[in-house]
């Protein structure tokens, strides 16, 4: 049986928060570079070049790529044979976020109550999703989620008769409405099926799948390809100022659902789509 100390978790999560905000992941850099080489709009190309320059500057100075260092979403995959020593796992994850945001000079963007709106000053609480699995591994995915893009996300309970056509229309409409504000070229996470909250969780988790990696099921892979083409045909372009690259990738996740339902959730991420994964 494996044992992990809470201090290890705190330090790991802190590092992951800083890493995710400062360094662009390889899949996203590849996506942006492809966009830059294919972009038809002169404004669009200049914007994409600026984005690449900004990645270099952030890395060189060791400061966040974007000032919106997000509200942290953590996916925990917890092996049932694992023991945590030194305190509660939940506290360790939250303290890790607080430590990372303080030591990394990241912006604290979380307010304690949606109505009173007083800043918690340490960027906690993070939103944490747990999954218990077999084995003795602790897998942690950290997604600092900016709200320029989060605010453009949407969910709808479609009818079974709406089918794939209904899902396509809802995704494309959501991208059309949101992408000028969401720092396009965006990444689109789509969750279809389950219940209302399951669809939303699938959409969020879809954003953590590396850009360019397709869903294993053929009909979902085809849907991803079609949605990418349909969204890029909107002409919205980088930062909404016109162009051929509105969306860098569409990741769709599906789950069994009820005979009466077709829930669909669309979670939008900006072109940085911060995601870091580690296994302890």
């Amino acid at each position: 049986m494996k044992t992990i100390q809470t201090q290890t978790i705190i330090d790991t999560v802190a590092e992951m928060c800083i890493e995710a905000n400062t360094f662009l992941s390889e899949d996203m850099l590849r996506g942006i570079c492809i966009a830059e080489s294919t972009e038809e709009s002169a404004n669009g190309r200049e914007i994409l070049e600026t984005m690449i320059e900004n990645f270099d500057m952030a890395e060189k100075k060791g400061i966040p790529i974007c000032q919106d260092t997000g509200m942290v979403v953590i996916y925990v995959s917890f092996g049932q044979d694992l023991t945590i020593e030194g305190g509660s796992l939940e506290d360790a994850l939250q303290w890790g976020v607080a430590k990372g945001y303080e030591e990394g000079y990241l912006r604290k963007s979380v307010v304690s109550d949606p109505f009173i709106r007083k800043n918690t000053n340490d960027n906690t609480p993070a939103v944490i999703h747990y999954k218990v699995v077999t084995g003795d591994q602790l897998k942690i995915k950290v997604l600092p989620k900016g709200f320029g893009s989060e605010n453009t996300s949407a969910l709808k309970m479609l009818k079974p008769s709406d089918g794939m056509t209904g899902v396509i229309k809802f995704v494309v409409d959501t991208v059309e409405r949101g992408s000028p504000n969401a720092c396009a070229p965006i990444v689109v996470g789509v969750g279809v099926g389950g219940t209302m909250e399951k669809a939303a969780l699938l959409a969020k988790e879809a954003l953590t799948r590396p850009l360019g990696r397709h869903h294993p099921k053929d009909h979902i892979e085809n849907l991803e390809d079609y949605l990418l083409q349909a969204c890029n045909a909107l002409g919205i372009g980088p930062m909404g100022l016109g162009g051929s690259n509105t969306v860098l990738g569409v990741n769709v996740e599906v789950f069994p659902t009820h005979i009466a339902g077709l829930p669909v959730a669309v979670n939008i991420s900006c072109y940085v789509n911060r995601h870091v994964e580690r296994e302890l």
Binding site: E40, S41, A42, N43, E46, I47, T50, M51, E53, N54, M57, A58, K61, G62, I63, P64, I65, C66, Q67, D68, T69, Y105, L106, R107, K108, S109, R117, N119, N121, G146, G148, N151, P180, N181, C183, Q229, A230, A233, L234, G235, I236, G237, M239, G240, L241, G242, G243, S244, C270, Y271, V272
Partner: protein
């Protein structure tokens, strides 16, 4: 691509010469304000409390910067989504505000107010927080310090890169550019 160098404050005459699509580099003093500062300013005006800054011919930059690392004066400082300020913006334009820097589209009400008061809206690259931070030369908290990142700051910028997105005549790049690249599949 030709670039127009602008020095703040921006007179009405200069603002009226700017055309949507022009690339600019802004130098001089600008003011930061976002959601919470706008709410407090406008609620203050309703109670008869004057604005903390005379915004006549000045520019507001919609930004909530990161904390400064040791040796730096400010952290990453890219634009936030302007649309959330739409509800408050016409009153500021009426009070003389000359321009705004942010990202994303504006409401019809804001655009109408910009046309009535010769306001101009600049867009800069969202997420380019590190690059734009590098253009900021001095920082001073001017009001609402308790709002932290959302406080009103007076900052001096040098060659801050932006694009005229909506001009004083109501020409709007978000409307015009997209049509050139949209197509059927």
């Amino acid at each position: 691509m030709s670039v127009i160098n602008l020095k703040t404050p921006l007179s009405q005459k200069i603002r009226k010469q700017l055309k949507a699509g022009e690339h600019v580099r802004i130098s001089g003093t600008i003011y930061t304000a976002r959601d919470a500062a706008h709410k407090r300013m406008i609620e203050g005006l309703e109670k008869g409390i004057p604005l903390p800054v005379d915004f006549t011919n000045e520019i507001i930059y919609y930004v909530g910067p990161c904390p400064a690392k040791p040796g730096e004066i400010i952290g990453s400082a890219g634009p936030t989504t302007s649309g959330r300020m739409d509800i408050y913006t016409p009153e500021l334009l009426e009070s003389g505000l000359g321009g705004m820097i942010g990202k994303g589209n504006r409401s019809e009400r804001v655009i109408n107010s910009m046309m009535s008061h010769d306001g101009v809206y600049f867009g800069c690259v969202g997420g380019a927080g590190a690059l734009l931070q590098n253009c900021i030369k001095t920082v001073e908290i001017l009001a609402y310090e308790d709002l932290g990142t959302e406080a009103i700051r007076k900052i001096v910028v040098e060659n801050f890169p932006a694009i005229v997105v909506i001009d004083t005549w109501g020409n709007n790049l978000y409307e015009t550019e997209r049509k050139k690249f949209a197509h059927e599949i």
